[in-house]
């Protein structure tokens, strides 16, 4: 196998990794907001439900959650699976798992805003939602960026778990080439691709943090 074939296969697998990454962010970033708000809701049963949800999502391995979501339709409801179901299962599992982590990061940000700001906003005639959107949220975004950066970088690497239910992403492709070609080169290339993509994400996050840091110049 030529190096070109190897790299084109790895980049083929990397597209799958990137697709999981992008779909997870698109789904989990907004879902996390809803979970964080529900988690702090005055409706106690709802808040408790969210606590349980977050606890299960954080307290069990993502790999196991993928298994559960992939196989539950068949083993619980008797619905036949098809070759497309694994892709749906991976994306759903990643979104609901990451939404739980994101929700807790959002909550840490929301709760870090001093009570006095809400009182001041009320005196100035802001409604509840205006206070949240115009005053609280912009500050929250700045405060949670470093923590979100951690999760986003972890997400890139977690995409390698998808093969446990048969979605062939970059790392499984690397392992397959290692097995047939008896060379360690694909691992080296895979490591390089992971690091370079995370370096790009780090740089983007650093630039965003710098742009948002308009009070500390």
């Amino acid at each position: 196998m030529t190096i070109q074939t190897m790299l084109s296969m790895l980049f083929g697998g990397f597209q799958t990794s990137l697709a999981i990454f992008a779909l997870t962010l698109v789904g989990a970033l907004p879902l996390g907001v809803l979970v964080a708000l529900a988690r702090q809701s005055r409706i106690k049963p709802l808040a408790w439900l969210m606590r349980i949800y977050i606890s299960i999502m954080r307290g069990t391995p993502l790999m196991l959650q993928m298994f559960a979501i992939y196989f539950a339709p068949y083993y619980v409801f008797g619905i036949q699976l098809n070759p497309g179901s694994k892709w749906t299962a991976v994306v759903v599992a990643f979104i609901i798992n990451y939404a739980a982590y994101f929700a807790e990061i959002y909550r840490s940000g929301i709760q870090s805003i001093p009570r006095g700001q809400y009182e001041a906003a009320e005196v100035l005639g802001y409604t509840g939602s205006q206070t949240f959107v115009r005053i609280v949220l912009p500050q929250v975004v700045k405060r949670i960026l470093p923590a979100m950066g951690n999760e986003v970088i972890t997400l890139i690497k977690d995409t390698s778990l998808a093969f446990s239910i048969g979605v062939a992403e970059m790392f499984s492709t690397a392992r397959a080439i290692v097995a047939s070609q008896v060379t360690m080169l694909p691992f080296l290339f895979a490591a390089g691709i992971y690091w370079v993509s995370n370096f790009v994400i780090e740089s983007l996050l650093a630039a965003l943090e710098h742009r948002l840091d308009y009070y500390h110049e």
Binding site: L46, L64, F67, A72, P73, Q80, N82, G166
Partner: protein
């Protein structure tokens, strides 16, 4: 061998979240059933129900295989899935007019994939012995043996020399089954018997000196020895001998028979022997073919 979110009002969002959480709970509650069935002694209770597949022309024939299992199923030099068993499967599909689809799976998830219906069969140097009650098999087509591979300079010559040594094999593999069953007395003399996710990792550990021996299939041993002839030696003693067949979900007897008949036909046409020659440098030998002989 071994083996999405839409724009919603706040109220409906809350309802939705509640539903999602319930789903999450249901999914987690089912894990015990799901994962135990995905384990080793699967498919015994479920199966044999209404979802039998009948061989029909134009049907999808999804072959589940471990892409890290040369020479049976692996990534070829051109980057396409290839291997002895995949070539056989592809030819059978051509003859039967089925739509051949190679589908790499994680070996630990094979039972769930098969029972769930996302794959039609497991065709990947799949050992019959010990799994007779769990799958509907085609007739066996290949003989195989479980052997032990050590480093050439280790000084280990026989099973007796393995006492106090570290031995590894693949998780959920036939070699592991033998070492926990018929050869449990031998395994008791090892310093330890551990498992790895795939044989390639196991052989990396053997080569680097992290372990003393790898228990595996004859064909895996032959493949690794062919790649690095000066590094490894295979012990003359065999742990067990066994047969390879194509595994279907329990009850799919018509499909299994169709595959058996086509394989016999390919053998009498001389196609099988040619295919064995193609993979001879990777440890496949026509002398081990046992279907229709």
């Amino acid at each position: 061998m071994r083996l999405t979110t839409t724009n919603v009002t706040r109220r409906s969002a809350i309802t939705m979240l509640g539903g999602a959480a319930m789903l999450g709970l249901a999914a987690c509650g089912s894990t015990s059933g799901g994962s135990s069935s995905a384990g080793s002694d699967a498919a015994t209770t479920e199966s044999a129900s209404s979802d039998q597949l009948e061989p029909t022309s134009g049907m999808d024939f999804v072959v589940g295989f471990d892409q890290e299992y040369p020479p049976y199923g692996y990534v070829g030099d051109d980057g396409e899935y290839t291997g002895f068993d995949l070539d056989l499967a592809q030819r059978v599909c051509e003859i039967q007019g089925w739509n051949y689809q190679p589908n790499p799976i994680d070996w630990d998830a094979k039972d769930g994939e098969l029972n769930g219906g996302s794959i039609t069969c497991i065709w990947n140097g799949f050992t019959v012995e010990g799994r007779e009650n769990d799958y509907t098999f085609s007739d066996p087509y290949m003989l195989n043996a479980q052997v032990i591979v050590v480093k050439a300079d280790s000084g280990i010559k026989s099973f007796g020399d393995l006492a106090g040594k570290t031995v590894i094999t693949q998780a959920d593999s036939a070699a592991l089954e033998v070492l926990q069953g018929d050869q449990a007395d031998l395994a008791a003399t090892f310093a330890s018997l551990d498992t790895r996710a795939d044989y390639n990792t196991a052989f990396m550990e053997l080569e680097s000196g992290a372990v003393d021996a790898v228990a595996c299939d004859l064909s895996i041993a032959a493949y690794q020895l062919a790649q690095k002839p000066d590094t490894y030696v295979q012990l003359d003693d065999e742990l067990s001998s066994e047969h390879y067949a194509v595994g279907f979900k329990k009850g799919n007897t018509d499909l299994a028979k169709a595959v058996t008949d086509t394989l016999k036909q390919m053998d009498s046409d001389g196609e099988v022997e040619k295919l064995c020659e193609k993979y001879s440098d990777q440890g496949i030998s026509y002398s081990n073919w046992c279907l229709g002989k």
